[in-house]
């Protein structure tokens, strides 16, 4: 009478799962970086492409070899290693020697990511930590040489040919003239489009913004972090500009120096940013504050990567104090 007993699978509920996976998430982020990638090849030519490919390949290869050697499950197909390689290439100069991205990628993947337990367990953003390592070890390669983009002007203005936009003012000895040209429409246009000197994928605010908005629309990143980060930099520079502390306008500051790639692609790395919504606000505002501090009073012209790395270290603390209140709980038991 009964249909013969089938071999049935027993698993706990739920019996349906969303199709969204880690791999899909990483792929969407990589897609969002494609406009900036194409832009980089347009601005800096074949060299940008070459360094990016080397960086991605070494990141993926390092993860693969490490996991094979440790007899772990190989997870390179989840795309996270490729993404790290891509981001690392985007924040180094196109004129670095070809072995530099290899060293950087190995450091990012091996030391920062895998030794801490692999995807999800690293507390620093691997690409940023990789860049910091390269900066500390080979500062000359990392900051001294920049490649002139297609526009033919490294700083975005004609008077200065040996520095990136953020470095130009310092180089000129804070001349009011230079500040004036940097604030001009012409210079801002170069900055917006990315036709200036800088790291491979960070120069074009516009192309990164397109990618960033795509990530927000697809729900991959939370708008709170980029908004609070860029917003706080902007707000602080309004004050500093009006009080004469900064010679450069707030607009210049949010378009220049890796803030866009940092705010949309690095600070939003889920692994190394707060998981709570309130925590994300705090993270973004503090990163903005630090960026301004470093840019204005620190030793580097550009403060995005160190700000985010510093904030990465505060994530556990931030989360601890921003846990959501469970439904129906009246008072905190803490």
């Amino acid at each position: 009478m009964a249909i013969e007993t089938k071999l049935l699978t027993i698993t706990p509920a739920p019996h349906i799962k969303s199709k969204f996976s880690t791999t899909r998430m990483m792929s969407i982020v990589i897609i969002a970086l494609m406009p900036a990638f194409i832009g980089s090849i347009y601005f800096f030519g074949f060299r940008a492409l070459l360094i990016t490919l080397i960086s991605v390949a070494s990141a993926v290869f390092t993860e693969f070899v490490y996991q094979k050697l440790c007899r772990k499950k190989v997870t390179v197909t989840d795309g996270s290693a490729a993404l790290t390689g891509l981001l690392l290439a985007f924040i180094i100069s196109p004129s670095v020697p070809l072995w530099l991205p290899v060293v950087g990628s190995v450091f990012s993947i091996l030391i920062v990511k895998q030794l801490f337990g692999g995807v999800g367990f690293n507390f620093l953003n691997p690409a940023l930590a990789g860049r910091a390592f390269l900066m500390a070890s080979w500062p000359a390669f990392m900051t001294a040489e920049w490649m002139t983009p297609k526009s033919g002007t490294l700083s975005g203005i004609e008077s200065i040919t040996t520095a990136t936009p953020l470095g130009a003012l310092k180089l000129s000895g804070y001349s009011a003239n230079v500040a004036g040209s940097l604030n001009s429409m012409e210079s801002l246009k170069h900055l917006l489009l990315g036709n200036v000197g800088g790291s491979i994928g960070e120069t074009s605010a516009l192309l990164l913004l397109i990618g960033g908005i795509f990530l927000i629309i697809t729900g991959i990143i939370d708008w709170r972090i980029p908004l609070s980060y860029i917003g706080s930099v902007f707000a602080l520079y309004i004050v500093l500009f009006l009080t004469g502390v900064s010679q450069l306008t707030p607009i210049f500051h949010i378009l220049a120096g890796g803030l866009m790639i940092g705010a949309f692609f690095m600070a939003t790395d889920p692994v190394t940013s707060p998981i709570t919504k309130k925590g994300r606000w705090i993270f973004g505002v503090c990163a903005g504050l630090l960026t301004v501090l470093i840019r204005q009073w620190g030793g580097y012209p550009e403060g995005v990567s160190y700000s985010i790395l510093i904030m990465n270290m505060f994530v556990p603390l931030i989360e601890k104090y921003t846990l959501p209140k469970p439904f129906g709980r009246v008072r905190r038991t803490a």
Partner: protein, 435 residues
Amino acid sequence: MPKFFTFKGGIHPGEFKFTERDAIEDFVAPDVVYIPLSQHFGKPAKPVVKKGDKVYVGSLVGEPDGGFSASIHSSVSGTVKKVDKYHHFSGNMEQTVIIENDGQMEKDPAIKSAYSDSITPEKIIEIARDYGIVGLGGATFPASIKMSPPQGKTFDTLILNGAECEPYLTSDHRLMIEFPEEIILGALLIKKAINANKLIIAIEENKMDAVSVYEKIKDKYKFDIAILKTKYPQGGEKQIIKAILDREVPEGGLPVDIHTYVQNVGTAYALWDAVYNGMPLVKRIVSITGSVKNRKNLKVAIGTPISALIEHCGGYMGEAGKLITGGPMMGIALYTDEIPVTKGTSGVLIQRKEEMSLDEPTNCIRCGRCISSCPMDLMPNLLGDFSEFYKFEESKELGVLNCIECGSCSYVCPAKRHLVQLIKVTKAELKKKGR
């Protein structure tokens, strides 16, 4: 345009309500029915029949064992073959009254309507207890206990839960369309029993056909309709109250603490049948859906083996991989199709081998999706970590006991972590330790 009510969090899985237009069909009870004594939340019933006893439709076969239990009745007329352990949805073999059906479907001679206009609340609660009425939305909580609040607590609002937020299931939907007056009459009985002054029927936006049925009778019976956004778990007791009344059940508390009573529409129908016709709860509507040749909504005698229903629906489509009782989000995977239908079987969902989601869990990437989806504002990622490291007390701090086990967190997790399963482990451990 009416206002659509909703709650914070939740998910939007595909609806797959294939059977929403299929009228309920009576399924003829099979030659043998297997009626488990454990079909409800609480202690199993004590058998009151033995081998060879003659029973009728509606005859008592199991009586409540103590205060926290429920009555069980025969769904056919015939002879008791034996009372023995048999396949059960819980995964264990459970005490079951096995009855040979004589095919006459003769009603127990004692069955008669108890309804009068002056029926007292006490009488309604008594009938609910004696006629085996339990919550039919899945929780199977004995209705008589729910209708008797602790000393000093009162109800003001009755929400009739017709959300049916689980994907695939349509049994409540069809019942609402085909038996609107019966459901409302049953609900009015509950309202009287709990002395509430307001009745609201809550229906998800994807069942506007049902909404229009109730629009027509709402003035006659004086009740309100609340249309809910289609979102899972909209039908969760705490979620539905929050959505409609903006009242929050306090942590560790019950809806009665905020004067609200929620009952599934199927339960209201069963109570109507019990009071107006004197018929105990011996049948229920079951959606047979998923990978079966002809999907149907069937009115089934409790105790019918699921295999008989599937046979009636033309058999499996493809190679059956999973057999689920209830919906895909909270339902239980069964180990054999010989398991009988019980009071809580709202549906039977069949998944083919290739439809099963069997992804291996990977590392949490801290994306926060589980947190945004959690209707109870918990941190499922952390609760999962704590469970993996046996840190049960820490989970308690974070409110793990509030988890309603809706599975939203597991559904959305891109790393495919078995979050709700880990959380259930923690809850079981805490329960063992006496909380």
